[in-house]
């Protein structure tokens, strides 16, 4: 491992230590973990009869994914003769 990499590793260590130092200095509340079922997640994502949820955003993200995949396929294509 050469010098440059060692410096970078040191920098990362500094970053990690920084994060940890900050996190431990804060006061986190005590309490149990929430018990959310998949159903609850599905309810926030797609909505109930009382609220819309994030359905629209899901669609857009899906569109984005589609476009990204198509673009990726295009970029990866071999040149034809």
């Amino acid at each position: 491992m050469n010098v440059a990499n060692a410096m970078r590793a040191l920098a990362m260590a500094v970053l990690a230590l920084l994060f940890i130092a900050v996190l431990t200095s804060l006061a986190w509340p005590e309490g149990p973990m929430d018990d959310t079922t998949n159903e609850d997640v599905a309810k926030t994502l797609f909505g109930t009869s009382n609220s819309t949820g994030y359905g629209l955003i899901v669609l857009f993200i899906g569109l984005l994914l589609l476009v990204a995949l198509l673009g990726g396929i295009f970029l990866a294509k071999e040149e034809r003769e």
Partner: protein, 660 residues
Amino acid sequence: MLEYAWLIPVFPFAAFVLIGLLPKRTLFWEDGGGYAIAGAAGAFVLSMFVVWDVINGQTLTGADAPRTTWLVIGDFEVKFGIWIDQLTAVMLVVISVVGTLVVVYSGGYMHEEGVGRRRYYAEIMLFISVMYGLVIADNFLQMFIFWELVGLCSYLLIGFWYEKPSAAVAAKRAFIVTRVGDIMFMAGIIVLFKYVGVLDFSALFGQGSQSIVEQGLISQDMLTLSTVLIFGGAIGKSAQFPLHEWLPDAMEGPTTVSALIHAATMVKAGVYLTARTYPLLVQTPESLLFVAVIGGVTALLAATVALASNDIKRVLAYSTVSQLGYMILGLGAGGYLVIHSQIGGGYAAAMFHLMNHGFFKALLFLCAGSVIHAVGTNDLRLMGGIGKKMRITSLMMLIGSLAIAGIPPLSGFWSKDEVLASVFDANEFDPVFALLWTMGVATAFLTAFYMFRMWFMTFAGEPRSDFHAHESPRIMTVPLMILAGLAVVSGFALFVGDGFKHFIELAIEPLGIVGEDEALLDIAVTILSDPLTYVTLVLAIVGISLAYRIYYMPGFDRSVFVKGVPGAFHRALDNRWYISQFYDDFAYKVVYGFSLVADAFDRYVIDGLVNGIAYLGANMGNSIRKAQSGDVRRYTSLIVLGIILLLVFMIYVVPWARGL
């Protein structure tokens, strides 16, 4: 009638407009000459009425003069009006008589001129009208405007034959040199205006005996400064030393122009200005001394240069400068007499000489014009023996030369003697005047000598070259005869009516002159019994005889003048005491040198600054682009480093700074 005096300039101005604008067919005789004579004559008639009124005691001065508002800027108003007093009357006489006669004479002189004739008449008319305007002005601003216009007309007329390079150069030179004087005049006016707030003669010349210094409006030093500056304008316009060089060169114009402008009217404007500001000048003895010294020095200087001149018009030009010096000297000395002994001698003498000189100098120039017209050359060395063929002109010029040399009973004698007498009297108040008196006497001797040198070389003896001289047509000789008659009799104005002296002294009466109650005959007796008179008279006669001996009688070896010590002197005179060369040298070295410095400054400093900034920008860009190394790892490292620093900053530094 005096209220209509403002119409006087209108006649020639209308002629100017008509000559300039009417279609060619309607110009009748001599391309507008008819209109010119009509305009000049109209002004002449009206001027004579005005002068007659003034002689009978009417004046139009001060608050009762009609005024019209010229310029209004907010609360500040400039009013123009007319001011007629005895001084104006004298000037009107000179301008109207000489102007009209010159225009008549031009009818003959400019006969073969061709296309330029119309321009000539138009410009002459413009000149005459603005000259009238100058002398009837009632405040400094109005006078200054007409002053500048007169300078413009002079430029146009000197450069009448503009295709000749020497004429164009002379016109430019005249304008620029008088401009130097004009700037000083303007500066003087500005100083006055700053302190006193008005430029009207009626306000500036005080009420009764309380001067504006006593009114606490202006300090004595500032008043001296402003009067000296205003006199600077007179130096420029009246071709006094050191701004005299333009007048000899102005002879490039037609002779009638020289006669009208540079002998009888425009150059008198400076003397008129000095006389007009007498109420201010007498409060500042230092400026009076300055005035007198300049006058005396100029008189002598110009007379010496005239000795060596070979061009008939140049001799007359230098003689004009010299005689103007006399007038200015007379005014300066007269001022001292007013301050110290309450008599108006010098003032009267100077103005008397102005009037007489106007007549005989115009006569001399017009005669010279006839000669040049007949012979075709200006050079004295090529002339000779013309007297046999041009009897009338020769006689007229003889009369003019006698007048200027100061031979009684012609007019020059009376006025020159009055001037020199007043200079001599002033010497009891300041010894400088004794020196100036000797300069004046020397000038009188030289004047007689060089005038007769000119006369002998032109009219007497044998012809030195081939030419066909003929007498001029009557349209040219009649004005000559009228002027010669005036040159003879105008001297006697001292003795007519109340006498010229009393007349003109009325103009400066508010200054507290105690009028000498001289009976008119006493004046003559005083002059004729004063030994000083005979000194100058004898010198004049000696001068004439010397000229006779040297230039008429054969057997005198004139080359003695150009060898050895006299030779060096002669060369100096030939080069006009090297003054022109000095000015050119100065302009070249100093002004051009300064412009070179300014150019270097512009090129290296200012352009350098601009170029330097551009250079800086380009170089900075050049250096910073090296940061784009294309190395992805370096980029990400820098990003992460930035994040770390930012986090540290936000978490630790900001709360610490807040706690301060």
